[in-house]
Structures are given as C-alpha cells and as structure tokens.
Symmetry: C2
Subunit: 369 residues, 2 copies
C-alpha cells in the first residue's frame, strides 16, 4: 500500500470537515498534524483529538498527504501554498466546488501532478470544529476529481485515505462534478430558499395552511447564507446554466397560465399541455433519484398506521414492526391540524407490506389502506 | 343546532373526497345520498358504505346540504345545477381553487345566498373511491370561503358538517384562499416538479450524488399531472403572481452569478449580497412555517442516534425513548451511501433533549451531538 498507517497527513483548516477528518484518521492510527489561521480553532481541534498542532506557516515533519479544508473562497490559494511548502506531498482539497479551484491553480502554474481535488459529500447544518464527528464520512460518497495531469499514485493515496475514514469513492471530471452538484444540490437549495422566501409577506392565516409538502420542499431553506454564498458564487457557471433552464420553464408556465387568468380557457390545448408537461417531467426526474445506500430507486410499498400522539406509541409501533422481522426503509409521520394524533407512513419492501399490515391490525393498530 | 343527525346530505361526485365524506358522515348517523356521472364509481362508493345511490340527474329526498365533490373543471356547472335542483338546500363545493368557481357562478347569476365554497385540506397521492378513508378529514383544516351574499345560517350548517367529520374550520375570502394556496401549495408543487425535471437528462453518475436535501425538495414531484393541471390552470392568476416573483428572484440571481462565471469576482459586493439575500430571505420565510398541529413554529432540539439498519433496531430505539417518557415531535432518518446503518434524528422539546440523550447513551446507543 502506498500509505501505511504511519504515513503522516497534514490538515490545513480545522472547521467541521478538517477536524472530523483529523479525528477519524487519528482513531485509525494515522499521524495527523493540524494548522488553522485561527489559533483558537486549531487548539480546539487538537483538544478534540484531531491531531498535533503546527503553528500557521510553520513546516511540520513532511506529510505524505496534505488536505486543504478551508472555506471555498481561499481554497486555491491555500492549495498553491501547500504544493510549494511540501514539494514531495500529494495535495487535495475538500471544497464543494471543483472547477474554480482548478482554474485558479492552473492560472498560477501549479504542479498539478501532485494535486487531485475532491469532495466528500458529508456535512452538517452546523459548522466549526465543535461540531466535528469522528464518523462524518462513514458511508458517504467522496468524489475524486482527477485531471489528466494527476499522478495515478496520488489518486490511489487519496482513495485509500477516503476508505480509511469509511467513505465510498467515486471519480468525476471537475466540470462534471460541478454540473452534477449544481443540479442535485445547489439549485435545489436555491429553489427551497426561493419558495420559502415567498412566505415572508403572507398573512398568518395563509401560512397556517402549510402542509407536509411545503415543509418538505423548504426544509433546507434553513441553511447558512455565508457558506451558501461561497458555494453558489464558486460554482456560478454550472448553477447559472441549471437556473436558466429552470427560469425558461417558469416563463413557459407563466405564459401558459396567462391563457387561463380570465377564467377557464376552453380552447387552449397547447397551454394546458405545457402545464401538464411541467408536472409530468417532474415525475420522470423524480423517478431517477436513487434510494438510500446509493442503490437504484426502489418502489417501496407504504403501510399507513394511525398513532396517538403521546409518549411510547411510536415505540410500541416500531417494536411491533421489529418483532414481525420487517425492516422499515423510509418513515414519515403526517400530523393533522389541531388534533393530537398522526398518520405514520412506513415504506417497506413490497413483499413485506401485506403481511405487516395484517400483523399490525392483529396487534390492534388502526391501519389505512 | 341547525342540522341534527337526521338532516340528509347529498354528495355529487364519488371520488376520493366525496366517498370519504360519505363514509365519515354515514358513520355518525347522517343520511347520505350519492350520485356520480360514472355509475361504476357511484356503485363502488355505495358498496364502501358512503351512502345510498341516486341515479345521475334523479332527485333524491330533499337534502339539507349538497356537497359538490367533482373535479375542479366542472365544479361551477355542477354547483349551478345543484342550486337549481334543490331550491331549499345549502350548496358547497370542495375544489382546491375557489375564485374561478365563484366567478363562474356569479356570471351565471346563481343564488349565492345558499352557496359557500369550501376546501378541506385533505388529500392523498391516490385518487378515486377505492382510496377513500373514513378519517380523511380528521384533524385537517377545512377552509370556508363565504362571500357577503352567503347566508350566515348556511355557513353555520357547513361548519357543523366539517366538525362532524373531525375537521377544523377556518374562514378566508375566496381570493385570499387562492393566494394562500398558490404560495403554500401550488408554487411549491411547481418548484418541486421543475427541480426534479432537471434530473431527467443527468448522467447516472451525477444523479448518484443525490442526498437527503434533494429527496426532500422533490418528494411531491411524484404528483399526478392531470389533477395538478386542473389545479394550476384553475388558480392561474394567483399562481402566476407568485411564479412571477419567483422568476424575478431567479433572474436577479442569474445576473449576480454572471459576475462570477469567469472566476472569483474580487469586487462584486452587490452581486455577492444578492446571492446571500436569496438564502437569507429563505431563512426568514422558513421560520414562519407552523409546526405540527397548526401550532406556531417550535424550535425543537435534535437528538442524533446511530442505528444499525436491521429489523428491530428502530423499534428498540423508539421503545427506549417511550420508556423515558419523551415524545418525539419529528423524526428523520439519514442513510449514508453504501453502508448498512443510518443516523436517526429525533426532534424533541428542548427541555427533554439533554435527559433523553443521557438516558439513551446509558442504554448503549451511540449518540451524536
């Protein structure tokens, strides 16, 4: 193996990702050194077990691999500095946008043989070393974005690092990565934020009609503005392209709806088809989203159970389901307005649904078909 | 009370809502008659216990209240017909758009003293009598949209009907209702569909990076095109107004991102502020969404527990939580890629969080802070 347990890793930037990585590597015996422009943040990461401290700018014992885990807007500069400080080391970064970093490195004439950008698809809604978790990467995708300059040995070293902290590696070209996350992450964030923004000026009586659909669509609208500003501006080209498609669809829909604003249009088949196509194309796209564990989309069957909204009832339900030996693939609970009970929706493999429903009914649960 | 148990109700349209209402009313002793343009649908509803059959066009024993539960695009015509067939009865409809129905009735010179539009906020992802549930309305909001012509006695009769099937009534002007559902339901549906539509042409390697955020935003993108075409075109004016605001925000964001497409813009404070404002305004709107049971938004505290993805583990967790006497307000499970475990997120009242976390740790669960 190119990196035995003893090959040292140096981490620049002790935020959530850098500190979590340091803790995870330290736990499996990898010697880790840390630095951060904030001495407080670096000391906290050290205290949390993320590795040994190195003063910012000081040169630690030569690391095999340097991981740059800074905010996206300074990533390129820090990578460039790392390549120059450790002429033998492989360098990666973990920013959630890849093309902009690479462009900046190329423009600066960096030695790209020793560099491979990467993106662990792991994060939390909280940031900073204090939010670090030793298992932040367990089971998560870690995308590697090699270029044609990347030394294959460097790529192998990076894959091994990701595997040691439990991540699952995949490879994408930097521009493909950026286009992918624009569509599956960045534009969904924008859409959630903009739908939520519409609620700001609504009267209370209108907001009171919010249901589970709105809650789902807008859950990630609670995200942090500063980080997302860096992400969206850092991936401006790819996000812009997806947003332009989205805007064109909305304009088309607005044009179609104009046919109906003066009452029902009896003769607007084209306009009606445009509206229907919006929903139908959403059906088609939705069907492509993988199920959990990165498996292909699975058509689960839903078993619906009425549960009293009081301590212990969910526990009793899940205990009963467990005793029947059935695994719950997805779980939702839908609460009504002004009433103290909920409808639990248990998604299970199709073959398990009917036996589970019968067993739960026999145990006294009220089922819905 | 203006409507004793014996006052008969007639339901026109035996789809999901009409049949569910018939079953719910029959269970509490209200005599119900049914009709539908489809004899098969009507017979099925009768067989399901929704009421007695009346041939389409035939006149049943005079009902106190007629409920029109047809698709939105024929609702006005059927209401008009009902007002003329039963000159003593109150008439309501349950379409999810209200202004268009009222406009059509007004244009036809209908007697609006006996009419009050309404909208039970209850539905399912499946349609038809076969999907009916006796408790479809339990705990749900049922919006009443009286006009100045509406006889207060009619309004009272309708409120009583809604209460008898377990719904919680609220009153809104028809245009206010339509503006509200455009923002909290119709445009979120459009946004979910359009975000999902972007996935249709992505390579598998890109779709594979989908995470929980995308799944949440696009869950309702699986909705039925035909019904939603009627809803969106029926509420064209209000939906168009919200979409226009959304489109303007997107155009503003695209313009701001254009400042960054050629690499990091070191001097684009206005553009950066525009991007930040999109996320910040989403924060503000999101904070207004009520919690479950129609209560104001509650800041729950999240307790995170690592659970093995195998039968019985969720049951054991919920049993343990129940034994601690703690109520779970919201529940999510986040699955990693390619690994057989999940991170359960239990939202509880803030005062319960620390004791629960300590108790679960003592019971051997792995907690995350």
């Amino acid at each position: 193996m190119s990196a035995a347990s003893g090959d040292p890793v140096h981490i620049v930037g002790t935020g959530l990702v850098g500190t979590s990585l340091g803790i995870a590597l330290s736990r499996v015996g990898v010697p880790v050194t840390l630095e951060d422009v904030s001495p407080t943040a670096a000391a906290l990461a050290r205290d949390l077990g993320a590795g040994a401290l190195v003063e910012s700018g000081e040169r630690p014992a030569s690391p095999t691999l340097v991981v740059v885990a800074t905010p996206p807007d300074v990533t390129a500069a820090v990578v460039l500095d790392a390549l120059s400080r450790w002429p033998e080391a492989a360098v990666t970064d973990v920013a959630s946008v890849k093309g902009a970093v690479l462009d900046a490195l190329r423009a600066a004439g960096a030695d790209l043989r020793r560099f491979c950008g990467s993106h662990p698809m792991a994060g939390r809604e909280r940031s900073g070393a204090i939010s670090a978790r030793f298992d932040l990467f367990e089971g998560r995708a870690w995308v590697l974005t090699p270029t044609e300059e990347t030394d294959p040995a460097i790529l192998g070293r990076l894959e091994e690092l990701a595997h040691r902290v439990g991540a699952v590696t995949t490879r994408l070209a930097p521009t493909d990565h950026d286009a992918a996350v624009a569509a599956v992450s960045h534009v969904p964030q924008v859409a959630a934020s903009l739908v939520a923004a519409r609620l700001a000026d609504l009267p209370d009586s209108a907001v009171a009609l919010a249901g589970q659909g709105l809650r789902d669509v807008t859950r990630i609208a609670a995200s942090e503005p500063q980080l997302w500003t860096q992400i969206l501006t850092g991936n401006a080209g790819a996000v812009r392209a997806v947003l332009a498609d989205l805007a064109a669809d909305i304009e088309g829909l607005i044009g179609a709806l104009d046919e109906f604003t003066d009452g029902p249009a009896t003769d607007a088949p084209g306009a009606r088809a445009t509206v229907a196509r919006v929903i139908a194309s959403g059906n088609a796209g939705h069907a492509r989203i993988p199920g959990k564990h990165g498996a292909g989309p699975t058509a689960y069957t839903t078993v619906r159970v009425l549960i009293p909204d009081e301590p212990g009832q969910l526990g009793r339900l899940f205990q009963d389901v467990g005793e029947e030996g059935v695994n719950i693939e997805e779980f939702r609970i839908d609460h009504g307005l002004g009433q103290a009970f909920g409808l639990a929706e248990l998604d299970v493999l199709p073959a398990s649904a009917a036996p589970l429903a019968a067993a739960l009914a026999a145990r006294g649960w009220r089922l819905h078909d």
